[in-house]
């Protein structure tokens, strides 16, 4: 099965990091990526929520607003799409994402249409 692992974390943490800590943070993600290279289909980090635009279509009119869909302390900052045998394996991999140590990982099974 495929699962999307959504990484939620405090953006300020990354923004306020020293160069050295940033380096360590990146290394941790690289190590994770290597360990689970066989399971990860794709994955990305996202630019901070202040770069986000939210779009709605209402009665034929497009409404765009500045900022993310929901303003929360811990924001979506990245994701991995993985292949796992079952939810337990997906949970185990989610627990290894460095962001799990400070933020939270939401595990979402991908819908399949037959």
């Amino acid at each position: 099965m495929q699962y999307l692992l959504l990484i939620y974390d405090d953006e300020k943490r990354w923004a306020n990091m020293t160069e050295g800590d940033m380096q360590k943070g990146m290394e941790a993600y690289n190590a994770f990526g290597e360990e689970f290279a066989g399971k990860i289909k794709t994955g990305d980090a996202l630019q901070p929520t202040h770069t986000a635009t939210t779009v709605r279509m209402r009665e034929g009119k497009r409404l765009t607003t500045d900022g993310p869909y929901a303003e929360t302390k811990e924001a979506l900052g990245g994701y991995y799409l993985i292949d796992a045998n079952d939810l337990d394996e997906a949970i185990a991999i989610a627990g290894k994402i460095p962001g799990a140590l400070t933020g939270a990982i939401e595990v979402r099974p991908i819908m399949t249409f037959e």
């Binding site: 079952d86 939810l87 337990d88 099974p109």
Partner: protein, 412 residues
């Protein structure tokens, strides 16, 4: 109980667990097993075959194959049958006893109590699948409409399927965490039956019996000794409490306090078994919360009359329990024990210290009322009893509290 009901009660969970493993689908397995029991009602004609488990398993298996064939023909998905067929004819089933039905209940209980399911869903699913309680029965036991409970079960099964919750016993590294979830579910079922917040008493006691039965099954099937110590403590705790069930409510349905219960009617067999399990558990590992709670129940069971109760020891155990599990309820129970060992004067400050956290809890008011009554502060006591009365949802308890208020008014 008819012979078939008997078989249903003892075999449902085991048969369903095996069928889910075979068929890979909760709903197909459940429907097939229901059809097999329906067939048994007509075909057994009151006479149970020599091996009812094997009969029911074989019948349900055929019903399921028929169903899947129809579905496969309909959807032209022959692959499904091809996939199922070999395992259905092979004889090399693991763990199978003379009935030919492997015992897969551990897989089932760990799947039902998966931490990614909500607690109320874990409880409902466990009672439905392992205990065979109907949706109506579970709904009645938990005081929710049948439709709500039905939806809860449908959603839980959909999540197992949709999210890919595996049907297996977790690996050893995850077992402690996962077992504690299973034990929490079992204890919740027991407490729902024992506390009887309201509702029909008969259904309620069934819940206690089911929880004890689940713990026994789990205990029989779990391999690891270290974990069994906690499980033994949980089973001991439930048995030691269940032993009092006949004496907790009198013939008129009135609640009877522990001090006033007719101790000769406590179930000695359950007490002996509980005590033995508890001692075994304490020998093997440091006591956890279940063991400490069981130890308190055992101290009560040791006293043949209420006046002989060793309240000093109970207060000491509550202190240890508080160290592991620092909740206001444990602190309140500790205060009650202190009121018995050192007197109401020593307990009142302990009770009052909990006023913020337990202001909405009827037993806090009832405890405070009792302490004040014993200190001779009658009017304050009556006030507290009234608060407790207003907050309690249990009819027997409300009648008891009203009785206390009237006794205080009469000065008895």
């Amino acid at each position: 109980m008819t012979a078939i009901e008997d078989v249903f009660r003892s075999e449902w969970g085991r048969l369903l667990a095996a069928l889910i493993h075979l068929l890979g689908d909760f709903d197909v397995a459940e429907e097939a097993l229901q059809e097999a029991f329906a067939a048994a009602v007509t075909e057994w004609a009151g006479e149970v075959p020599r091996n009812p488990r094997a009969w029911l398993y074989g019948t349900a298996r055929h019903k399921a194959i028929d169903r899947l064939r129809r579905r496969a023909r309909f959807a032209e998905k022959q692959a499904e049958i091809a996939y199922l067929a070999p395992s259905m004819t092979s004889d090399n089933m693991e763990d199978a006893d003379e009935s030919g039905v492997p015992d897969e209940r551990l897989r089932l209980i760990f799947t039902c109590c998966h931490p990614s399911l909500a607690e109320d869903a874990q409880v409902a699913l466990t009672l439905r699948t392992l205990c065979g309680l109907s949706t109506e029965e579970i709904a009645r036991a938990f005081l929710v409409p049948t439709a709500t409970m039905a939806q809860r079960l449908v959603r839980a099964k959909a999540k197992i399927r949709g999210a890919g919750i595996p049907y297996r016993v977790p690996p050893a590294s995850e077992l402690p965490e996962r077992l504690s979830v299973v034990m929490a579910v079992i204890y919740l079922v027991f407490n729902e039956g024992y506390a009887a917040a309201s509702g029909a008493a008969l259904v309620r006691h069934d819940l206690c019996a089911e929880a004890i039965r689940l713990a026994r099954v789990l205990r029989a099937l779990m391999p690891l000794a270290q974990l069994n110590a906690q499980l033994d403590a949980l089973l001991a705790l439930m048995l030691l409490h269940d032993a009092r069930r006949l004496t907790r409510v009198d013939d008129n349905g009135e609640m009877v306090l522990l001090a006033d219960q007719q101790r000769s009617r406590w179930d000695r067999a359950e007490i002996d078994e509980g005590r033995k399990l508890l001692h075994g558990s304490l020998r093997r590992s440091r006591p956890g919360t279940y063991a400490l709670e069981a130890a308190i129940a055992a101290v009560h069971a040791d006293a043949l009359i209420a006046a002989d109760t060793d309240w000093k020891q109970i207060a000491a155990i509550y202190e240890r329990l508080y160290a592991l599990h620092p909740t206001p309820i444990v602190a309140l129970n500790h205060a009650v024990a202190v009121s018995m060992s050192d007197g109401p004067g020593a307990a009142l400050p302990l009770v009052d210290a909990l006023s913020d956290s337990l202001a909405d809890y009827h037993l806090w008011h009832a405890t405070r009322a009792d302490v004040l009554r014993r200190l001779g502060r009658v009017e304050e006591a009556a006030d507290s009893y009234r608060h407790a009365y207003e907050l309690s949802g249990n009819e027997a308890e409300r009648r008891f509290l009203m009785r206390r208020v009237r006794e205080l008014a009469r000065g008895t």
